[in-house]
C-alpha cells in the first residue's frame, strides 16, 4: 500500500486547515511555536487583559513540547509532544484568536473540537516518546518569551519535514475513534 504524504507549510490559513483530513499523514515545514502548561496559563492572562501576544497568533501552529536542553552543537534537545488535554482549558480561546493548528498527542475535549469546527483548525499528532527523532526536524530554535520558565518557555522553531498525522480535522473527525473502529472491523473480517 502506498501512502501519500502531503507537504504543508506554516503559517496555516483557515482555508488550508479545512483541507486537511483526519488520518492524513503530512510533513510540516516552517515556523511553529512551543508552549505547554505554564506558558498557556500566561497566554490566557494576556488574552483576558487584551494584551499583545509574544508571537503572531493569526495562522499560528503551537507545538505542545518542553524540550531537553541542547548539548553544545545541537539545535535542540529531545523534543517530542506532551499530552495535549492539559492545554484544553486554553485552546478554544486561542483558536478564536487565530490559532489554526496544534501539535501534541492524546485526546482533546469536546470544547476544543467544537472550536476547531467553528473556526477551522486542526489537531496534529506527533509520535509520543520520539523526542530524539523529532529533534532532527528542527532547524532552529529561539526563546521568544518566558525565559524564566526554562523548558516551558515559548520558543520559535523552524522545522523541516516534521512527520505528523492529522488526528482531529476541522469537521470533528477523530482518528482515535475511527482508527480503532476501522482496525477492529478489519480484524473481525480477516480473522
Amino acid at each position: 500500500m502506498v501512502v501519500e504524504i502531503d507537504r504543508i507549510t506554516s503559517p496555516l490559513s483557515r482555508e488550508d486547515a479545512k483541507k486537511l483530513r483526519s488520518g492524513q499523514e503530512v510533513l510540516l515545514s516552517g515556523v511553529i511555536y512551543t508552549a505547554r502548561d505554564a506558558a498557556h496559563m500566561r497566554l490566557m492572562e494576556l488574552a483576558k487583559s487584551g494584551e499583545e501576544f509574544p508571537f503572531p497568533i493569526e495562522g499560528a501552529i503551537i507545538y505542545y513540547v518542553g524540550p531537553t536542553p541542547e548539548k553544545p552543537g545541537q539545535v535542540i534537545g529531545s523534543a517530542g509532544p506532551t499530552t495535549s488535554y492539559r492545554m484544553d482549558f486554553a485552546a478554544p480561546c486561542l483558536i478564536g484568536l487565530g490559532l489554526t493548528a496544534m501539535i501534541g498527542k492524546g485526546k482533546r475535549s469536546p470544547e476544543v473540537v467544537s472550536a476547531m469546527q467553528e473556526y477551522g483548525a486542526v489537531y496534529f499528532g506527533a509520535i509520543g516518546g520520539a523526542g530524539a527523532l523529532l529533534a532532527g526536524c528542527v532547524e532552529s530554535s529561539e526563546v521568544v518569551a518566558y525565559k524564566d520558565l526554562g523548558a516551558e518557555a515559548i520558543r520559535r522553531l523552524v522545522v523541516r519535514d516534521m512527520p505528523l498525522t492529522v488526528i482531529i480535522d476541522s469537521f470533528g473527525e477523530n482518528l482515535y475513534d475511527r482508527g480503532r473502529e476501522d482496525y477492529l472491523k478489519w480484524k473481525a473480517e480477516t480473522m
Binding site: M1, V3, G23, E25, A38, V65, G66, P67, T68, P69, E70, K71, Q74, G77, S78, A79, G80, T82, T83, Y85, K105, G106, K107, G125, I127, G128, G129, A130, G131, A132, L133, A135, G136, L149, G150, A151, P163, T165, L175, Y176, G179, R180, E181, D182, Y183, L184, W186, K187
Partner: protein, 281 residues
C-alpha cells in the same frame, strides 16, 4: 559489615541517570521489535517503526529517548549490614543533580505541587528504601514520565469483587487512558496491601524485565490474560488502532486485610527506563 562511601553512591546514581535516559533496556527493545513484526495494521506499523528509529537515534547520539526525562524514582535495596559513610539520601539526590547536568536532562520537578517553582536540577528523587538481610547495596534508577503516570489509578475493591473485579478495573483504566500514555504501554498492577502499598507494588512491578515470566503460575496466567484482553481493545500504538496496545502486564501482590482488595494500575509508556547496579566499595 560493609562500608560504602556516599560519594560512590552519588557517582553511581549520576551515571545511572544518564544511561537510563539515553539507552532503552534490551528487554523493552525486544518487546517493541517483536510487536512490530507481529503488527499488521499499517498506521500501527509506521508508529512502531518511528519508535524503534527513535531509541536507536537516542543511543547513537547519547541524547534522551524522550524529552520527558521524568521524575527520578530510585529504589534502594540495602543490606542491614551495610554502613553508608555519609548522607545516603543526599548522595542520591546529588547524583540526580549531577546526572541531570551531565546528561542534559530536562528540569521537570517543581518544589511544591501548588506553588510550582522548578527546582532546576531534577532533585529531589522519589526514593524508596527496602532493608534486606546481608551486606549488599542494590540501586535501581527509573526515570518515570508523567504522560503515563497521569493515567494511573488506585481503587479499593471489595473482596467479593475478586479477580473479575481486578481485570475489569485494569481494562477500564487502560481503555480510558487510550492514546494519552503513549502506547504501546507496560502496565504495572499492584494488588493487596493497603491504599499506598498497592500503588508501590504497581510501580515496582514495572521494574521487572518486560519479557520475564511471573514465577507464580496463577499470576503468570493472569498477566497473560490481561495482556491478551488489553491488546484486543484495538487502541494500538499511539492510539492509531492496532494490536500492540501493551507490551507487557506485570502484577505484584502482597497480603491484605480481610475487608479489602486494594488495586493499583501504574501505566508506563514505551519508554520504560530503568538501570540497576550493585554498589561495591
Amino acid at each position: 559489615m560493609r562500608k560504602i562511601s556516599a560519594q560512590l553512591i552519588e557517582d553511581a546514581v549520576r551515571e545511572m541517570c544518564v544511561r537510563a535516559n539515553c539507552v532503552l533496556p534490551e528487554d523493552v527493545r525486544e518487546c517493541i521489535t517483536a510487536g512490530m513484526e507481529k503488527e499488521q495494521w499499517p498506521a500501527a506499523k509506521t508508529a512502531l517503526k518511528h519508535i524503534i528509529e527513535n531509541f536507536e537515534i537516542a543511543q547513537r547520539e547519547q541524547m534522551p529517548i524522550c524529552q520527558d526525562t521524568g521524575v527520578t524514582c530510585v529504589f534502594v535495596e540495602m543490606g542491614q549490614d551495610v554502613l553508608v559513610e555519609g548522607d545516603l539520601s543526599e548522595a542520591i539526590n546529588e547524583g540526580v543533580r549531577q546526572g541531570s547536568k551531565e546528561g542534559f536532562l530536562r528540569a521537570s520537578i517543581v518544589a511544591d505541587p501548588l506553588r510550582r517553582k522548578n527546582t532546576g536540577d531534577n532533585a529531589p528523587a522519589m526514593i524508596y528504601y527496602d532493608i534486606i538481610p546481608g551486606d549488599k547495596l542494590k540501586i535501581t534508577v527509573a526515570p518515570k514520565g508523567f504522560g503515563s503516570e497521569n493515567m494511573s489509578k488506585v481503587i479499593m475493591l471489595k473482596p467479593s469483587d475478586g479477580v473479575e473485579g481486578v481485570k475489569s478495573f485494569v481494562l477500564k483504566t487502560v481503555e480510558e487512558a487510550g492514546p494519552n500514555p503513549c502506547p504501546p504501554i507496560i502496565v504495572g498492577v499492584g494488588i493487596g496491601g493497603t491504599f499506598d502499598k498497592a500503588a508501590l507494588l504497581a510501580k515496582k512491578a514495572l521494574m521487572r524485565p518486560a519479557n520475564d515470566i511471573n514465577p507464580d503460575p496463577f499470576y503468570s496466567e493472569l498477566e497473560d490474560e490481561l495482556l491478551r484482553s488489553i491488546n484486543e481493545l484495538g487502541i494500538g500504538p499511539q492510539g492509531f488502532g492496532g494490536k500492540t496496545t501493551a507490551l507487557a502486564v506485570k502484577v505484584g501482590v502482597m497480603p491484605t486485610h480481610i475487608a479489602g482488595l486494594p488495586v493499583a494500575v501504574n501505566i508506563n509508556c514505551h519508554v520504560t527506563r530503568h538501570v540497576t547496579r550493585e554498589i561495591k566499595h
